[in-house]
Amino acid sequence: MKLNSEQIIDKSLKLVVCFFVASAGLWLLAAALFAYISAAKLTDPFFLSSFEYFTYGKIKLAQANAFVYGWGGNSIFAVTLWIVARLAQTESRGRVLVIFAGIIWNLAITFGLLGILDGHMTPHEMLEMPAEVWPALFISYCVIAFFIVVVHRSRKNKETIAPQWFLLSSLLWFPMLFLIAWNGLEINPARGTVQSVLSMWFGQSLIWLWLTPVALGAAYYIIPAILGRAIDKYYLAVFGFWCIATLAPWSVVHHLEGGPVPMWIPAIGTVMSIAMIFPIAVASTNFHSTAFLDISKVWDSLPLRFVIFGTLSYTISSYIGVIFSLPSVAKITQFSIINDFHFNQRVYGFFSMIIFGMVYYILPKITGNEIAKGAKAFHFWTSAFGVLILLLAYLIGGLTHGVLAQQPSLSWASSVISSVMPYFLITELAFIVLGFSQLVFVINVWKAIIPNPFAFWTCGDSQSKPETSA
């Protein structure tokens, strides 16, 4: 059978994309386990308390890092590799090196998380993994990014479109952000609270400039691809892109409101956060006015349902984020568990939901194996339900937490924190639901990659068996 050009590209990508998707799935399960343990420790402080490896603080950070670098990093590689190669109409390059770098990346995260659990964490936001693993992470990242850029440069059509801007910029922003932060925090460390500004800036920018553009780029790709129609008001996309590029790195510092830093830092952050309504509005208009032209098709296509859930979540929660950056509101919510709301809505409700959709779209194309519709639907509904419950609990719990903390007469443990307890219990339940949901996702993915796991042993079949790391 003669393959058409798209199938040839897919074939060249099969091994690398399967490798990254499969490892991403395992990290997702690890993160789900950590998430459950940390939530359970908040409802019962004696849970696993005699093991030093499992203090709440360590587990919580291990979860964030497994989620962002393990699940986020691997799925970013998978999605970016595939979309960039497809849009460039070019076969992937350097597959052996990319897989090798991918193995290093996953090993480095494994050692990094073990390092956190063993008490070797750094105090820098989203750079908590011990200093020793970062060179390995950085170099393996650069190798993978290099081959993606090589594919992009040899593209057939010189015109670029929105998905390429977002994916390429995310690819290049991460090493830049990392070098700035690493230089200012470890190589040539700043003194006093300059460190805090820099570490906070990196931690928040990482979400805005690494995870967010990938999810937006994927949405810009998949919505027209499935609906078969162009993005409505596409001319706005370029404006939205440069707004994010120029405003996001400024807006994130509003979290330092009232802290021991010069006032101009949080003030600029607040102003830029308010300006962020422009790019949010652009993305929202592009995605939703296109999708709502053909809403029944969105509903029928499961990948698209995931993606539209993600873009809706992006719009709503980003506007909520703008409100929470206003000083009079930040005063209440600043140190409350609203922070968990922000993190989870961004990496879960938005980024992960879009990635789930993308994976369900890509996998059947490259492996030729369909994923059972019921299993996908189960994953969608449990994820959607779990995320909604989780975010509502963090949002309402966070407001309760913040408002009560502003009453100096209420005692801390017995009034403020015990009023938030019911919400901790809800998050624990939500994490159980999400854990099952993610388990189904991983089974779906692994079944598509290796439909018959025992064939490999029985017939010595040439079926590719992806490397795993966790």
Partner: protein, 377 residues
């Protein structure tokens, strides 16, 4: 957008401008702050003989900051008192003034934190300097603050079977005593926690409230109101004694009695666990028994108003047994004259008389109710 080089330069610039501000700009502005005196002289210079703040950390505290980081304490605790207009941190008693950048210049790693599931720790060393309290809290926070969500750290302590001069006694709700010996890591951590206090002024930030006179003033006002409305006929010396006794009863800091944690602010106790003081036959009865309990504590079964209780009352005071004769007199006078109680005052002379009568008793050896009643008869 189509030329990869131009595109790369574009997105590099977008990040670079923010980098210029937050890294280069911030470093230039406050990256090289040095310690300063509390006040500057008229020319804006640091006086030659002035003490410089912040003080550097001791070696042990420095080690402790690494334990603090390694255990992940920063996930739930901030170390920053926000500006007055940005939150009620000062009102909550978390500091005498907002934190400023200069407070952090000696710290190798600045552990500001961004979530408060636990209280802010910027001034915890000032709020809670008691070593034993901190060790008990690290070992099992719930033994001191029942609702605490803070995870226990039993791995920092050795549990021993017999109390010794190195061990600390932790009593849980089911009345079982455990004896713990802090490891070197626990000692470092406690040393670090005790070193956290921003209790000095800096040229850029003066105290917002002065805690030295604040509690007295506040307590005084509160009590004046109470007594104005209810007991205005009491003689002023009794008023003063009751007011001081109430403060000791309610105070959970050195110099206080920590009585309210068990007997409750209402004096009602906790059913089945801690006996009530309001209307209690023990409180309104013989003063000598009361004074003895206030000096040495009480353990074992006791019958109050016909109901049996079995628990341990450590010698009152922080640290235990530290209340002076006058303080014991004040707090006993207070509990005999609140919540509807009305009985004669206790004087410090009565307390010192009892103290000298029982001075042969081993320190910290708690009474039992049977022993007290036997003496009585």
């Amino acid at each position: 957008m189509n030329n990869l080089l131009k595109f790369t330069i574009g997105i590099f610039l977008s990040l670079g401008v923010a980098w210029l501000a937050f890294v280069v700009g911030a470093r230039a502005q406050f990256g090289d702050l040095s310690p300063s005196s509390q006040n500057l002289d008229d020319d804006g210079n640091i006086p030659l003989d002035a003490d410089l703040y912040p003080l550097p950390l001791s070696g042990t505290a420095e080690q402790g900051s690494k334990e603090y980081l390694a255990l992940g304490c920063m996930t739930c605790h901030t170390q920053q008192v926000r500006m007055v207009e940005a939150g009620f941190d000062v009102e909550r008693g978390w500091g005498q003034r907002p934190s400023v950048a200069r407070d952090y210049i000696h710290q190798e790693h600045v552990l500001l934190g961004n979530t408060r599931i636990g209280p802010d720790l910027a001034n915890v060393g000032r709020r809670q300097p008691d070593l034993e309290w901190l060790h008990k809290h690290l070992f099992e926070p719930q033994s001191l603050v029942p609702q605490s969500l803070c995870p226990p750290s039993p791995f920092l302590y050795d549990q021993v079977d017999q109390p010794s001069d190195k061990s600390i006694t932790v009593v849980d709700d089911s009345n079982i005593s455990r004896f713990i010996v802090p490891s070197i890591r626990a000692k470092r951590l406690v040393s670090y926690i005790r070193s956290l206090h921003q209790d000095y002024e800096l040229p850029e930030m003066a105290f917002v409230i002065n805690e030295e006179d604040e509690p007295d003033e506040a307590a005084g006002k509160e009590n004046l109101l109470d007594f104005d409305s209810n007991q205005s006929s009491l003689p002023s010396w009794l008023d003063t004694q009751i007011a001081s006794g109430k403060e000791i009863y309610m105070k959970a800091a050195p110099g206080g009695g920590l009585c309210f944690t068990c007997h409750q602010p209402t004096g009602e106790g906790l059913a089945g666990q801690f006996p009530p003081l309001a209307g209690s036959d023990w409180v309104l009865g013989d003063k000598e028994r009361l004074i003895k309990i206030s000096i040495y504590g009480l353990m074992g079964e006791i019958e109050v108003n016909g109901i049996k209780y079995n628990n341990v009352m450590a010698p009152p005071g922080i640290p235990p047994g530290s209340l002076t004769d006058q303080q014991i007199a004040d707090v006993l006078t207070y509990i005999r004259n609140d919540w509807g109680n009305s009985a004669s005052a206790v004087t410090s002379l009565e307390v010192s008389a009892v103290r000298s009568q029982i001075k042969g008793r081993a320190p910290m050896q708690m009474w039992t109710a049977a022993e007290l009643n036997a003496v009585d008869e």
